[in-house]
């Protein structure tokens, strides 16, 4: 990385001029952002602006084609070992839960620690129970996902991601498939997580949550971040017309 400034020690995610195309379609158009260790960044913006794609680039569910993505000092390239390393450090929670329906809640959570980290079962299960308590559903451990409500499933998904003890958690609209009561359950868990000092990138339009929890916010539009700043700045003093307009629409 000659000629470019090295990321500071507490910059846990650095994206520089990231471009991505789907075929001919230019999704990410020179996107740059730096996330500090322990920060909670809320990402928002109109549909199709590339928020999900951005998040998926960070743990390389998608490849970017130009620019640099450096996660905890590991640059994402075609080196498959780097991809493996990054995926262990980054947990991800999806809009549609993606809980494994053929495994019990307990098996959902212990699968990766046992297979990837080679944790002994007893240890993995102990940790899983702690996590289930943390997300508030210890009594559901033996059930299958189909027996859980949406909110419970999403909490399992969070526990599952946390079981890998990631340094960073990515959330892609974690509550948009949920009913109002359930949204609260899930946001509570995320609030607690943010409080514990986890670095988080959250795509969400729950602005109440953002105002309360986020350190910084980033407004996406047409494949770039058109506005980025502290929560207060963005809410109270947005620089761009687009941001103002968008915020006025969703608040």
């Amino acid at each position: 990385m000659t000629g470019e400034e090295r990321p500071a020690a507490d910059d846990i995610i650095v994206c520089r001029e990231v471009h991505k195309w789907f075929g001919d379609f230019h999704v990410l158009r020179g996107l740059s952002i730096t996330v500090k260790r322990g920060d909670v960044v809320v990402v928002f913006g109109p549909s199709g602006s590339g928020k999900s794609t951005f998040i998926r680039v960070i743990n390389r569910l998608e490849e970017h084609q130009r620019g640099d993505v450096i996660v905890d000092g590991i640059e994402l390239t075609h080196d498959i070992r780097n991809v493996e390393l990054v995926r262990r450090e980054v947990g991800m929670v999806f809009q549609s839960f993606n809980i494994f329906p053929h495994l019990t809640v307990m098996q959902n959570i212990t699968l990766a620690p046992m297979r990837v980290l080679r944790r002994p079962r007893s240890e993995a299960e102990k940790q899983a129970m702690e996590l289930l308590e943390r997300v508030g559903i210890p009594e559901q451990a033996a059930k299958y996902p189909a027996e859980l409500s949406g909110g419970q499933q999403q909490r399992v998904a969070i526990a599952r991601a946390l079981a890998m003890q990631p340094k960073i958690m990515l959330f892609d609209e974690p509550t948009s498939a949920l009913d109002p009561e359930m949204i609260k359950e899930v946001l509570d868990v995320m609030r607690e997580l943010a409080g514990s000092g986890m670095t988080m990138i959250v795509v969400t339009h729950e602005m109440g949550f953002a105002r309360e929890v986020a350190d910084r916010m980033a407004m996406f539009d047409e494949g770039t971040i058109i506005e980025e700043g502290t929560t207060a700045q963005v809410f109270d003093n947005p620089q761009h017309e687009r941001t103002k307009l968008f915020l006025s629409q969703i608040l």
Partner: protein, 391 residues
């Protein structure tokens, strides 16, 4: 005010009576038709001097059978000949099912490959094979491929040695000696030990997280014990038997006839195309999000496929797969076109030589129905298990 009551209901308007009567009439008609048919058969048989009994089964068959798993000579009874056919059918069906499943899995997964070449070739394979009658394919395999292999005297020699010619594939094989039985104990011991080691070490690995190398240990057990036994039992328990070209043919060793090979190839290639489609649909039925979630958790591609995708796809795949197994078994009756002595082919010879069309037809039907029933039972057991484990 008029009230139409209960007690006034005449029989012909009472729903319960009507249901009962309808069923009785239905049964009577069905039984009458069957009785009528059976009577016709008896009458016609009488008129034409056909015999309908099964007594002939004990008579000497007299005709030769080209290959048999269980041993057969012309002086054996018709009953034995029929059993030879059944066993031959089961043999080709079982081997065919295993091979077709393996091939079908490979092709099905390949159809979803990100490699365009692999994807297109497997698609072409599936689209061609599924759309051409199996009978035509069997003729092609047998007359167009297997019989056009070199003649015996010019056999292809593969390492082993394995000889390939149009009389089949001849391979080295091992013959047992008197010490074989004692050695077999060692082999069994090795298998038991290996399984035990694999299970115990596997469990330890899961419980403690330490890599205990369960597969390596099991493999060692599997190899060591029989090897030990080999030297302990004294005389070598197996001696190598190499096929040698005698005057007309290879003698000794193991052999696969071209008829069996062609039938098996035809059935496997044909059925695998259908299984591939089932596998593909099954895998596609697993939502993309599942794979992504697994990847995001750091599972490798292989782990994702094995512990996330396949278990979910299997629920969709198994039931239609079982019906493909049944199809394969039924299709093996086309053996008759290319000279493999399966159940149906032998039955037809029996009809000719014994002249008992009716009883033999009944035997054929019974044999196939028994096989279908077996598949149905397996399918039901699987469905019940899935239902229990799911929720």
């Amino acid at each position: 005010m008029r009230i139409l009551t209960y007690r006034g209901t005449p029989l012909w308007r009472d729903a319960r009576v009507l249901r009962a009567v309808t069923q009785i009439v239905f049964v009577v008609i069905v039984v009458a038709i069957v009785v009528y048919f059976v009577r016709n058969v008896f009458e016609a048989a009488d008129e034409r001097g056909l015999k309908l009994g099964f007594g002939f089964l004990e008579e000497e068959a007299g005709f030769p059978i080209a290959e048999s798993v269980i041993g057969y000579t012309e002086s054996d009874s018709f009953r034995h000949a029929f059993i030879v056919g059944v066993v031959n059918t089961i043999k080709v069906a079982l081997i065919g099912i295993v091979a077709a499943t393996v091939l079908g899995l490979i092709v099905g997964v390949s159809r979803l490959s990100s490699n365009w070449l692999v994807k297109s070739i497997t698609s072409v394979y599936v689209e061609i094979i599924r759309n051409v009658p199996l009978l035509v394919q069997l003729f092609f395999w047998y007359f167009g491929i297997f019989l056009l292999l070199p003649v015996v005297q010019e056999s292809l020699r593969l390492p082993g040695p394995i000889y390939v010619n149009n009389r089949g594939v001849f391979s080295v094989w091992a013959n047992t000696t008197s010490s074989f039985d004692s050695w077999l104990l060692f082999v069994l011991g090795g298998v038991v030990l290996a399984v035990a080691v694999r299970v115990i070490l596997g469990r330890i690995q899961i419980e403690t997280g330490r890599n205990t190398h369960p597969n390596v240990a099991a493999a060692l057990a599997l190899v060591l014990l029989p090897t030990l036994g080999w030297f302990l039992v004294g005389e070598s328990p197996l001696i190598r038997e190499t096929p040698v070209l005698e005057r007309f043919n290879f003698v000794g060793g193991a052999r696969v006839t071209p008829e069996f090979a062609a039938l098996l190839t035809g059935l496997v290639v044909y059925t695998a195309a259908f299984i591939a489609e089932i596998v593909r649909a099954g895998i596609q039925s697993v939502q993309r999000g599942q794979t992504e979630a697994a990847r995001a958790l750091g599972l490798s591609d292989a782990q994702t496929l094995l512990s996330i995708v396949f278990p979910q796809a299997l629920r969709v795949i198994i039931p239609p797969m079982i019906s493909q197994f049944l199809n394969l078994t039924k299709n093996s009756s086309l053996a008759i076109a290319i000279g493999y002595p399966d159940l149906y082919a032998i039955s037809r010879i029996m009809i000719n030589q014994a002249g008992r069309a009716v009883p033999i037809m009944l035997l054929i039907m019974a044999a196939y129905l028994a096989m279908s029933l077996t598949y149905a039972i397996i399918g039901n057991i699987y469905n019940r298990r899935v239902r229990f484990t799911e929720r």
